[in-house]
Amino acid sequence: MGKRTIVPFGPQHPVLPEPVHLDLVIEDEKVVEAIPSIGFIHRGLEKLVEKKEYTELVYVIERICGICSFGHGWGYCHAVEGLMNIEVPERAEYLRTIWHELSRVHSHMLWLGLLADGFGFESLFMHCWRLRERVLDLFEKTTGGRVIFSVCKVGGVRKDIDKETLDEIVSVLREMEKELKELTDTFMNDFSVKSRLVGIGVLSKEDAIELCAAGPMARASGVYQDMRLTGHGIYNKLGFEPCVETAGDCYARCVVRIREIYQSIDLIEKAVKTIPEGDIEVPVKGKAPKGEFITRLEQPRGECFYYAKGADSKFLERMRVRTPTNMNVPAMVKTLQGCDLADVPMLFLTIDPCISCCER
């Protein structure tokens, strides 16, 4: 038995885009225990529910995170619509689904880039982000914003996409797919990439269920769990089936996300083919009634909870967002036990941490 040392990891670290701190107890280069500590950027956004009317709060909720911004906006609107019993027009649901899947494509590509950067493959990182830029251009063209879209509102969406632009989205994505295939081939088959990913940080299916992991983290361990199966949006009509891998290591998590990019492109194409004509919003007036509603959305990072509690006034009494990273931190802490110190950044990246989401 070697000597135990505590190595601090973060809040400032090259692989961490956001501040989080881990105390790693090391014994002969092996991590014995890890204690996470977050809370460096807690902003208290949920408290703003008392200052903003429910129709205005969507601007705040959208700014929880820059990458899953659209998902947060949709989740919030979905929860309030459920609370107020608003039926959203079908075209709006289609448009929301298209934007949400586009967000997934861009979020996973961003993550692939970060992963490549994490194991030191700089040119792969650059190529991932170069391709991602095309998705951002599509966002700018359809919504007006590259990061914060501000298109979701309670009762529908703010902007419509015409037929030509919808077709353009599909053709751009299909064009992108060709280059993406080369990139993903590198991720899945390159010798040096595989040696950094295969067999690292295995999370067994039992542990994933026990620790309540969410999103790609759970699916990589063989858990059949995807909130798109709950039938929000139009996923029922698109015939959606989650991507599940069984290995549970870093490589499996990478593969799940790569498969989800292709799946999202297919889903967008299907949605574009079947999108109906019609209104894109219903007028929403009056107070939010007393009551409560919980809804869940599959963000790029996993399952996300939105809880809205109305108080028969223009202001909600409580808004709660539970983000996927919250749920994946315990699972990550568990997988860190027994891994090498050099693999800690890799492992940490593969949960796709979003600390801003986590603390709100």
Binding site: I294, R322, V329, P330
Partner: protein, 118 residues
Amino acid sequence: MNEKWKVQNFIDVEPAQLVEKVQDLKADGYRLGQVHCTKVEEGFELIYSFDKDHILLNLKLIIPEDEEIMSITGVYWSAFIYENEMQDLFGVKIKHMALNYGGNFFKVSQPTPWNPKN
């Protein structure tokens, strides 16, 4: 059933029965979704959400502000995040937590900022 998100399933439970109930749910194969707290007139309203096959189940309980509640980290270890969050932001008193940060989970400038009395 296609629209599983419409199912809400709010069940009221007594604070004393919470841990027992959570143990039953775990044995049934439920997964912990989230725990959160709302400040209400009577004290705190806690909601524990569980999920099985994409269907929600929510346990709801109301406790007075100075009452201690039993931690569920013995059943679901990953609940420590939510319990520390409630302890830091609202000042909910939770006993026997598996991992207690003692108010330092979130770096807040004043204790229990979301509980207006302090």
